[in-house]
Amino acid sequence: MVRRLAAVCPHAAAAGLAPDQPLAEARAICPGLAVIDADPAADRAALEGLAGWAERYTPLAAPDTPDGLVLDITGCEHLFGGEAGLAGDLARRLERFALPYRIAIAGTQGAAWALARSPTSRGPITRIPPHGEAEALSVLPVALLRLDSRSVAGMRRLGLRSIGELARQPRGAVTARFGALPTRRLDQAFGRIEEPVTWTRPPQPWEARLAFVEPIGTPDDLGRALDHLAADLCCRLEAAERGATQVEAVFIRLDGMRPAISIATALPGRDPMHLARLLRDKVPSVDPGFGIDAAVLIAHATEPLRAPQSSLGAIAAEAAMPLAATLDTLANRLGADHLWRPAPFDSHVPERASIRAPALASRPVMPAPSWEYDPSAERPIRLFRRPEPIEATAPVPDEPPIMFRWRGALHRVRAASGPERIAAEWWRRTPDESQSEVNRVRDYYRVEDNAGARFWLFRLGLDGTPRWFLHGLFG
């Protein structure tokens, strides 16, 4: 297999080397050639990183393998002082990265692609006026239409060297000879048909972005940026009468990495102070690297949220506000599964009688079931997640123990009540469990020791040697 050159540096190009040249030939031309193995995967990853970084200019940025970027700057250029300002800013930053570049701004992707790679263009930045594509492209070689090499070679044999010459040929003849691609590329380049582009990230309807003049890195600066973004986003949410429940802040680093923090709220909200406070809590987890170039705040989930009306209902809503804010803060700091409201569940198995309901539901589906107290079935105030095995001495198998040892201490039972028989729920049993029916029954006793401490014990199994467990403690 012949090793070929994938890319050459300017010095090598000056020495007469070119991509696609066999390596042996290149070595013959230039004996001192330094060769580095091509790594297309790493190139692609670096290009994707650069595309991510380029989102500081527009939300629509995509890598164009192997060596280009596509940015849709429609509607974004005025933020950087027009097309020329944007191109100049991009060029300055790329220079700072020591990346060679060619920039072209045109009305179509095809035209920009061709102009950026044109050997005749003057200077690294090319800009053509609106609807000037046909004129600008007419002198360029046909290879810049993104055609396959066979078509290009065929056109050269026919004497069709420039795009203008190709465009003057009858469409039918071109299509018959070279297939549908050349005419389609021409149409795309001249803006006669649309060209689909696969953007890295689909555009979000609710996002705010902020590009910085100089890279920032301190947590204070990031926090201030979040304040701005939150104010911006919330302002738009308010205009649309919506509130956000899931918000993500993405920081675009100089090296293309995108550290992100995300928060969720129980109730839809658009209070910039609250949003910024929740986000600021997580700023220390962001690694700014060599600096952060832009920040984007995206609301991934929004819900309709009416502006509060000043009425009697507003008082109740106001009372719920500090609770909602506190719950959000805690849920984002500890994790949403670290805080809950206990809710009754219709089960006689103690472990399942209480379930964890979300602390603040945005839309209660049904009124919460209420707790009912049954004096005949006292329940302990502390219930262990796993019943702890104890050594118990019971005179008769069916009676409560007279003493037991738990955590190394011996407790003499003074009084006991029970048993309360609780069986496993047969409908929740897995079929492969080999335990017999009698071993699924627990006989619970409430016992009090000599000191007055109260325990909830149970005996497992009716046949053979009973095993005793401590499941909870009474107050």
Binding site: P322, A325, T329, L334, P344, A353, A415, A451, G475
Partner: protein, 277 residues
Amino acid sequence: MRDECKEQIENLSFVHPLPSSPHDVTPDASLEALRARLAGLQPARARGVWRFGDERVDGCLPGGGVPRGVLHEVSAGGIEAESGAVAAAFLACVLSGMAPAGDVFWIAPTADLYPPGLLPYGFDPGRLVQVLTRNDSETLAVLEAVLRSGAAVAAVGEAGRLGRVAAHRLHLACLRRGSTGFVLRRWPHGRQGDGEAPIAAVTRWDIAAAPSAAAVFAEAGREPGLARWRVRLTHARGGVEGSWIMQAPGGADASHSLRVVAELAPAAAAQPVRSVR
């Protein structure tokens, strides 16, 4: 001279200007007005007290009851210092009386509080928000955040170590919005409590289990009666210490109130409660 002063005071742009007529201005009246204004500016200290309903207990407490909007500490000795069962039950009784409505946060590094077990003490678990933390310091931080926000009428934090600074911060957080804070001193397995820590809480309670009545008298049934606790008030700012045997509510008793069964003599109160260990 006095007119000059008055002019200066008026220049301070008070919302309620002092009376302008020289006849109804006496130094006392303006002083009273200023005092009233100052009291309004201060953090709400007087959120009232919750009375046990028994003079033997209320008499020991500052203001005749357990004050709301401040920090309290509840601890227990022996095995109870690990499990925190009796202390939690006592707290449930106090909370159901002191804060009969509103959300109550219960913050702990272990999630072994069993909501149905709160029912006999008249505490509705539906208004409980349970927060699971990773360690003591996180518990105290969350407790402070909750108290500071005023989101809850009361908040309980289960923590072992409670330093002077942490306790003081918690107390200030209580004063800010009037939420009542409780620290339930609970030591994980195998660690010893520090009984001599500086006290920043307004009251400090030490709870231990006591033999129940029914078990003493009903020989035939040998069924445990209503739970009884030895409740020691070991510290009360502006009050005096005390020690009682109290009987918990429960069973058919629907009053949900703690009942003082006996008052213990100071000698009995001084007797060490940590029987185990």
